[in-house]
Every structure is written in C-alpha cells, then in structure tokens.
C-alpha cells in the first residue's frame, strides 16, 4: 500500500513543477489569447540566465534567481511589446509561426552560447535533503518547496487579479480589449506587462527545474507539452485548475514510471488524451472563453 501512496505523493509533488511550467502559459492565453510555442524554451532560457548569473557574479542559486527575475521580466516585456504585439489579431497563424520561429532561435542560440552540454543549478545540501511525512514516506525538500511555491504563486496572482487595479485591467482586457481601451488601458502595455509577469513565474519554474534535474538547450519543447497538458486537463481560464491539471499529469506520469520506467512520459500523454476525449473543456473550465 505504501508503494501506491508514495507514488501518489511523489506524483503530486512533480505536479507542482508542472503547474509552475503551466501557469505562465495559462496566464498569457487568458489575457491575450496567445499560445506561445516558445514557452518551454523560455523556461530553459531562464534556467540558463540563472546559471549565467551564478557564474558571472559568483552568487548562490537563490540570489541568482532574485537577480534573474527582473531580467526575465524585461525579456518578456520586450518580446511582447516589440514583436508579439504585432502578431495579435484575428488570424491564428502569425502568433503561432512567429513563436515557433522563436522556439528554434532560442534552442539554437542557447546551444551556441552555452554548448549542448547538460547543466545543473547547484543548490548545495538542500538538493538531496528530505523530510519524513510519516507512514514511511519520505519526500525531498525541493519537490515539496516546488509545490508550495506553485500554490503561493497562484495565491499571489489571484490577489493581483482580484485586488489590484492592474489585475482589474488584466481581466477587463481579457473580456473586451476594445472597451478596455476606453478605460484608458493601453492594450500593448498591458500585454507586455502580462508577458513580463509570466516570465517571472517562468524563471521561478526554471529555478526548480534546474535544481531538480539536468537541463540543456533542447529540452524546451517537452516542457511546453507538459505545460500545455496541465492547462488543458485543468481547463482553460482557471489557475487553480492549472495546478490540479499539473498534479494529475504528475501523478499519471509517476504511476506510469512505477509500472515501467520507460512508460513515464507516455503515461502522461495517455492520461491527457483520455481526459481530452472525455472532457474536452478540461476539468474546471471557466464559464466563458
């Protein structure tokens, strides 16, 4: 019995990481109906930014993250303001193809800058520290922190959305971009700020990714797929849904891995497909889309 309980617990913690991957994607789609095919590669980019800050300034990984947060905000803001804003409109092709192009550029640019070697963010002893949860189950401190951070990020974002003027502006723009302009909301700036915030969450996700596992320039697309699956399983428009979607994905993958390590990723895809067939709008879709 502890075998399966342990699987559930570890799957849930893995889900926290997937939720962090997915939150940025969910945010951007919610506010500007943009699906960024380079999202996974931006996670990897953030990981390399943290790594570069660590090596250039000789700081520990947490300080590197804090320094990287504004850097990633600026990257996201600029990307949206200068380029992605020009692609928004009725046609779905331009944002898709432009972000796909960016995906290729980022992957290869990172390879040029950092080589294709696997990297890791060194965090010291905490990487392998674990906590006893009782019932004979031990969990890593980092995975636990990952899940707690995901929950914290969602609380913070919801607070922004529901209590802050900027959050009201986001929701208004998401509802009706034209009328939002009449409120003095400059769509282009709002979208850029939203992308900047998404990049901050992405940097946090990269922090946990890089400490937990090896990363290299090519792993972006797989992260995009996990993020996407988490968003779809959870249902469009709900950040808590995205968290749940991540957890379900994490659990499915962990169950698959438990049966046969080669089946981990496939199990996740299968779970995603089953939910897609049975509940195409996800488990907790918002009323309108």
């Amino acid at each position: 019995m502890t075998g399966w309980l342990s699987v559930l617990v570890h799957g849930t913690l893995l889900g926290g990481l997937y939720a962090l991957f997915a939150i940025g994607l969910s945010l951007i789609f919610g506010i500007m109906r943009l699906v960024n095919l380079a999202h996974g590669d931006l996670i990897v980019l953030a990981a390399f930014v943290i790594l570069a800050v660590m090596t250039s300034f000789g700081v520990d990984v947490l300080s590197a993250l804090l320094i990287s947060l504004p850097i990633m905000f600026v990257i996201g803001f600029a990307l949206q303001y200068v380029i992605l804003n020009q692609t928004l409109g009725r046609d779905i092709l331009p944002p898709l193809l432009v972000t796909f192009g960016f995906s290729i550029i980022i992957q290869n640019g990172l390879q040029e800058a950092f080589s294709a070697d696997s990297q890791r963010l060194a965090a010291g002893a905490i990487e392998t520290a674990s906590i006893q949860l009782g019932g004979g189950i031990a969990v890593g401190v980092m995975p636990l922190l990952t899940l707690l951070t995901a929950i914290g990020v969602i609380f913070a974002l919801n607070a922004l959305f529901y209590w802050a003027p900027l959050g009201r502006a986001f929701r208004a723009t998401s509802d009706d971009p034209l009328t939002a302009q009449l409120m003095g909301i400059d769509n282009r700036r709002i979208f850029a700020i939203a992308m900047g915030i998404a990049m901050i969450v992405t940097a946090i996700a990269a922090f946990y990714l890089g400490i937990r596992a090896n990363f290299d320039p090519s792993i972006g697309p797989a992260r995009l797929i996990y993020a996407f699956e988490a968003v779809i399983i959870g249902g469009l428009g709900s950040l808590w849904g995205t968290l749940l979607g991540g957890i379900i994905l994490g659990v499915a993958q962990t169950i698959g891995a438990h049966i046969n390590p080669e089946w981990q990723i496939l199990a996740g895809h299968v779970a995603f497909l089953i939910i897609l067939i049975l509940r195409p709008r996800g488990l907790f879709p918002r009323a309108f889309d």
Binding site: D176, T179, L182
Partner: protein, 235 residues
C-alpha cells in the same frame, strides 16, 4: 473657443466612407444631442472622437489641442469618456469593479468617486459585489454611465443609452443628467429617441448618410424640418 470641435471630420471603414466632412462644436457646459437614423454615422462620429477610429490630428480639436490622431487610451486620459452603445460592461468584473476600472486611466479631480456614484445611482450600492451581467438593463446602463464618470471627464459621450430600456427606466436615467451637468461635465448624447434628446439638448445636430443635415437649437426647428433632416425625404 469651443471645448470640443470637429473640423471637416471624415471616417472610413476600409473602402467604405462613413463620414463626409462633419463640422460640429460643443461649448463648455452644454448638452449636445446627435440624432439620425441607423447607419447615419452617429456611432462612427463618437468612435472618431474617442479615438477608436483615428484620423487627421486637427480634424478633432479638444480645448484647442489636436486629438484626431490619438489612441483611445490617450484621449480618455485627457478627459473624454464614452458610455458605449450596448453598455459593454466587463462580464468578469463585479459592479463595483466595473466602476473602479473606469478610473484606471485617469481619476481626474472632480466630484465623482465611488461613493458619489452610489449616491447618484443608489440601486447600484445594493448590487456592488454582484456580477455585472446579473443586473437588469437599466441598472447596467447606470453602471456604464457611472464607469465613465469615474474618470471625472470634461466631456461625457453617451451612445444610445435608452436603447432597449423601458420608458420609465429611461426617465430615471435621464434624471441623472442634470446632476452630471452640475459638476461641470459637458455632455453629448446620441439618441434615437428624438423627443428625449430634444428635451435635454442645448444644441442639436442631425446626421444623415454621414453628413450633418441640421444644426442649431432644438427650439428653432419644426417637427417637419426635423423629420426631413432625419429621413432625407423630399417635402
């Protein structure tokens, strides 16, 4: 000098021309009524002023400054607010949040804030935390007007605020107009209800097929003249 003027204003939707050289003026403190049949160009006129349609800089002059080329957000910040046709409240926002977002770009210095809006429209205070979509048509119109007022605009543009509402509700809403004027806001109302428009207007413009067919004080025109200007029928 007029507060707001349009000078030879034209507007196009792709290849279709909707306004053909429209000249109007709004004096400080006045109420302007715009009447005309569907498709005459009234909404296009308002969209041009608010910046949703952009044109030549000097085609619209506000307080002596050219604004025809500015974006909607920029124009709103200067003190021109629109109550859009069909209300267009934000479905994800509550009544109070809709009002608050009206002040996002500009709060202005003036009489209007959340409490004074609730004083103007007491029904809204009861419903402040409800989703805006659960309100009746009349209440939604009040929210839309309140939302526009939150920026303490110098010019309030009202696009067909009586559309789809029962006469008694329309009367209630129009009763708010004098209080709005008291605070120094100049008002432009676009109306299909000619009688209502003429009751409140200091000055009247009639649109017909993208052009002004009548301009002046409402008292100066006979019913026939207005009918003719509205429909373009031959006598």
């Amino acid at each position: 000098m007029s507060l707001l003027e349009t000078r030879d204003l034209t507007a196009h939707y792709r290849d279709l021309q909707a306004l053909f050289g429209v000249n109007t003026r709004l004096e400080q403190g006045d109420t302007l009524a715009i009447i005309g049949a569907n498709g005459a160009g009234k909404s296009t006129f308002l969209r041009s002023i608010t910046g949703l349609l952009r044109g030549a800089p000097w085609s619209i002059v506000f307080d002596g400054e050219p604004i025809g080329h500015l974006s909607a957000a920029e124009i709103m910040k200067r003190g021109i607010a629109l109550v859009p046709e069909g209300r267009r409240l934000f479905p994800s926002l509550t009544v109070e949040e809709n009002l608050l977002v009206g002040g996002y770009g500009r709060t202005g210095s003036g009489h209007w804030n959340i409490s004074t809006i609730y004083s103007l429209f007491p029904k809204l205070r009861e419903r402040r935390h409800q989703a805006s979509t659960t309100l009746s048509g009349g209440e939604q119109q009040m929210v839309a007007i309140g939302r526009a007022l939150m920026s303490n605009p110098r010019v309030l543009l009202c696009d067909e605020i009586s559309l789809g509402l029962a006469p008694i509700i329309i009367r209630d809403i129009y009763q708010a107009l004098p209080k709005i004027k008291e605070t120094g806001t100049s008002v432009v109302i676009v109306e299909q209800d000619i009688q209502q428009a003429m009751k409140v207007a200091d000055r009247l413009y009639c649109f017909q097929k993208g052009r002004i067919s009548l301009a002046g004080s409402p008292a100066a025109f006979s019913r026939d003249e207005i009918h003719h200007a509205y429909f373009g029928t031959q006598k």
